[in-house]
C-alpha cells in the first residue's frame, strides 16, 4: 500500500462514528474550550469577559501544584500501563491458547468480574485490603512478621495497585483477541527448528502480538490518566493528579472555566502522546498485513 492511494469506498464506514463524534464530542468540547477563555459563563453571566488567565494560572503555576500534578498524572499512567501489561500478558496468552471451552469461559468471567464491581465499591474493597487496619496489615501483624502497618495505602503505591486491578481486564481482552489470531503453528514450527520455548515466544509470538500490546497499553494509559475516583480515594494527601484537580474545580470550587482549561491541557498532552504511539504502531506492524 502506498500513501498516495485514494480513499476506497470502505472509507464511508467512518461516517456514523464521525457524526456521533462531531455532534456529541467536538461541538460540546468546542463550547467548553471557548468557556475556558472566559472569566465566567458568558451565557448566564453578562459580566463574563475574555481572558487567558486560566491558562496563565496553569503555566505560571505560582501555587506550585499544577505542573507537579500533570507530571504525577503521566507518571501514574505510565507505571499503571507497564504493570497492567506485565500482569495482563500471561493471562491473555493463557486464555488465547486454552483448548477447553469451559476453562476459557471460566477464566474469561474471572478476568471480567473486576470490571463489574462498580468503581466505588471496588475501591472500597481495596481500602479494606490495604489500609492500616486492613486485611494484609492485620494478618501480617498477627503473624508477628511486622510490628507497624506497612504503608500500602494513602500513597502512589495504593493508587497504582487499585488502578492496575481495574485496567488489567482491558489489557487482557485486547491482547487475547490478537494473540488468538496468531497461528500457533508458527510458534511450534520455530520450536521444531530447535528454538527453546522461551525463544520461540520471544521471536515469534511476542513480535506478532505487538499490535495488541500497543492497543492495550494505549487504552490503559488513556484510562489511567483520566481516572479520578480511585486516586482521590486511595491516594490520600500524597497523590494529586490533574483529573482530581478538574473534578475539584467542577464539583467544589465551582470554576468550570478553569476546569475546562485543565481539561484542554490534559487532552492536548495525551493526544500528542497517542499520536506518537500510533506512529509506532503503524511502523511496527500496521503495513505488515498489507505488504
Amino acid at each position: 500500500m502506498t500513501n498516495t492511494a485514494r480513499p476506497s469506498p470502505i472509507a464511508w464506514l467512518i461516517a456514523p462514528a464521525g457524526l456521533l463524534f462531531v455532534l456529541f464530542f467536538v461541538m460540546p468540547f468546542a463550547v467548553m474550550t471557548a468557556m475556558s477563555f472566559y472569566s465566567g459563563n458568558p451565557v448566564t453571566n453578562p459580566n463574563a469577559f475574555l481572558t487567558t488567565r486560566h491558562y496563565e494560572r496553569f503555566i505560571l503555576d505560582t501555587a506550585g501544584i499544577f505542573h507537579e500534578a500533570l507530571w504525577s498524572t503521566l507518571r501514574i499512567g505510565l507505571v499503571t500501563t507497564i504493570v497492567s501489561l506485565l500482569i495482563g500478558y500471561p493471562l491473555a496468552h493463557w486464555m488465547a491458547r486454552m483448548q477447553s471451552r469451559l476453562g476459557h469461559a471460566l477464566v474469561l468471567m474471572a478476568v471480567i468480574a473486576p470490571m463489574l464491581t462498580g468503581i466505588v465499591v471496588r475501591t472500597f474493597a481495596w481500602m479494606t485490603i490495604l489500609q492500616d487496619k486492613g486485611v494484609i496489615n492485620t494478618t501480617l501483624i498477627q503473624w508477628g512478621l511486622i510490628e507497624k502497618p506497612l504503608p500500602l495505602m494513602y500513597n502512589e503505591f495504593g493508587t497504582i495497585v487499585a488502578l492496575v486491578h481495574i485496567y488489567v481486564p482491558f489489557m487482557v481482552l485486547t491482547l487475547t483477541g490478537v494473540i488468538g489470531r496468531i497461528d500457533e503453528r508458527l510458534e511450534q514450527a520455530a520450536r521444531s527448528l530447535g528454538a527453546g520455548r522461551l525463544r520461540a515466544f520471544v521471536e515469534v509470538t511476542l513480535p506478532l502480538s505487538l499490535p495488541g500490546i500497543l492497543a492495550g497499553s494505549l487504552l490503559v494509559f488513556a484510562l489511567s490518566i483520566s481516572a479520578y475516583v480511585t486516586p482521590s480515594l486511595m491516594g490520600g494527601t500524597n497523590v494529586l493528579t490533574l483529573p482530581m484537580l478538574i473534578a475539584q474545580q467542577v464539583g467544589t470550587s465551582f470554576n468550570p472555566n478553569f476546569a475546562g482549561a485543565l481539561g484542554v491541557i490534559l487532552l492536548l498532552v495525551s493526544l500528542a502522546i497517542v499520536v506518537a504511539y500510533n506512529r509506532i504502531l503503524a511502523r511496527l506492524s500496521g503495513e505488515q498485513g498489507m505488504a
Binding site: L91, I112, G118, T174, T176, S226, I246
Partner: protein, 271 residues
C-alpha cells in the same frame, strides 16, 4: 484451533506458567471476595474479620424500588449502547484500517480522545450543550453520551485484530468471485469477531458502570444504578452497595456469556 496439544509428563516450565496465571487471577479476584464478605456481613460497615452472615443487604437492595428501577434502566441503556457501539465502532475501525484514509494516525488518536478527557468534563460539556440547544435531558441523550465513550473501545480492539490478519484471505475470496458484500460477511466479519467481542464487552461495562458522564445527564426518577449507588453511599455507606455490586456482577456476567455465545472471543474458524 486445529492443533492438538500432546499430553506431556510433568513439565516445570508449564507448571510455573500455570502457577503464575493462578496468582494473577487471585489478584484480580481478591477484592471481589472482600465485596462478597462485605455484602454478607451484617454490620453497616466493612469490618475485618467479618462478624457473621446475613442477607439483609440483599434484601434491602431487592426491596428498594429506587435501586430496582435504576438497575433496569442501567441494563436497558447498556444494552442499547452495546448494540450501537459495536456497529458504529466496527465500521469505523474497518474504515480506518481499509479505507486508505489520509491522516490515519491522527484520526485514530482523535477517535480515542473521549477516553483521555476526565469523564466528569465530558458529562459537564454534554450537559451544557444539551441545555444550550434546548434538548433538555432525554434518555437518548444519555445513550448518545454513553455510546460516545464506549465506541473508542470497539474501534481500538477491532483495529488491533485487523492489523494482524492477512489481507490476502479477503483478496483470495474476491479473486474467486465473491462479491464485496459476501467477502465482508463471510470473511472479514468472522475474522474481526474477537476484537468486536472484546470491544462489545467493554462497551456494555463502560455504560453499565458509567458514573461521571451520567452524573450530569440523568434526571430525577431516571437515575442509573451507579448514580443512585454513589448518592446512597455519600450518606449510608453500608452493605447495600456491596450487595448491589454482587448482583451487578452476576447480571453483567450473564450478558457477557450471551455475547460470547453470539460473537465469541476466540475465533472458532479454521484457517
Amino acid at each position: 484451533m486445529s492443533v492438538a496439544r500432546n499430553r506431556r509428563p510433568f513439565d516445570a516450565g508449564r507448571a510455573a506458567y500455570l502457577a503464575l496465571n493462578a496468582l494473577l487471577l487471585a489478584f484480580l479476584l481478591l477484592p471481589i471476595v472482600i465485596v462478597l464478605v462485605f455484602a454478607l456481613n451484617p454490620t453497616p460497615y466493612i469490618s475485618f474479620p467479618p462478624v457473621g452472615v446475613s442477607l439483609r443487604w440483599f434484601e434491602k437492595f431487592f426491596t428498594s424500588a429506587e435501586f430496582m428501577n435504576a438497575l433496569w434502566l442501567s441494563l436497558w441503556v447498556a444494552t442499547v449502547v452495546l448494540v450501537l457501539s459495536i456497529v458504529i465502532g466496527a465500521a469505523c475501525a474497518l474504515a480506518l484500517a481499509r479505507g486508505n484514509l489520509p491522516g490515519r494516525a491522527v484520526l485514530t488518536a482523535f477517535f480515542m480522545s473521549p477516553l483521555m478527557v476526565p469523564a466528569i468534563l465530558t458529562g459537564l460539556a454534554l450537559f451544557q450543550a444539551y441545555l444550550l440547544s434546548g434538548i433538555g435531558r432525554p434518555v437518548w441523550g444519555l445513550i448518545a453520551a454513553h455510546t460516545l465513550v464506549a465506541v473508542p473501545y470497539v474501534i481500538r480492539t477491532t483495529l488491533a485484530v485487523l492489523h494482524n490478519f492477512d489481507r490476502r484471505i479477503e483478496e483470495a475470496a474476491a479473486v474467486l468471485g465473491a462479491s464485496p458484500t459476501r467477502v465482508f460477511f463471510e470473511v472479514t466479519l468472522p475474522l474481526i469477531r474477537p476484537g468486536v467481542f472484546a470491544g462489545g464487552v467493554f462497551a456494555f461495562i463502560v455504560s453499565f458502570d458509567q458514573f461521571p458522564v451520567s452524573l450530569f445527564l440523568v434526571v430525577p426518577k431516571g437515575e442509573t444504578l451507579p448514580v443512585v449507588l454513589f448518592n446512597y453511599m455519600k450518606f449510608d455507606l453500608d452493605g447495600a452497595i456491596a450487595a448491589a455490586s454482587m448482583v451487578s456482577i452476576l447480571l453483567a456476567l450473564s450478558v457477557v456469556l450471551v455475547l460470547e455465545r453470539l460473537i465469541g472471543l476466540k475465533a472458532y474458524v479454521k484457517l
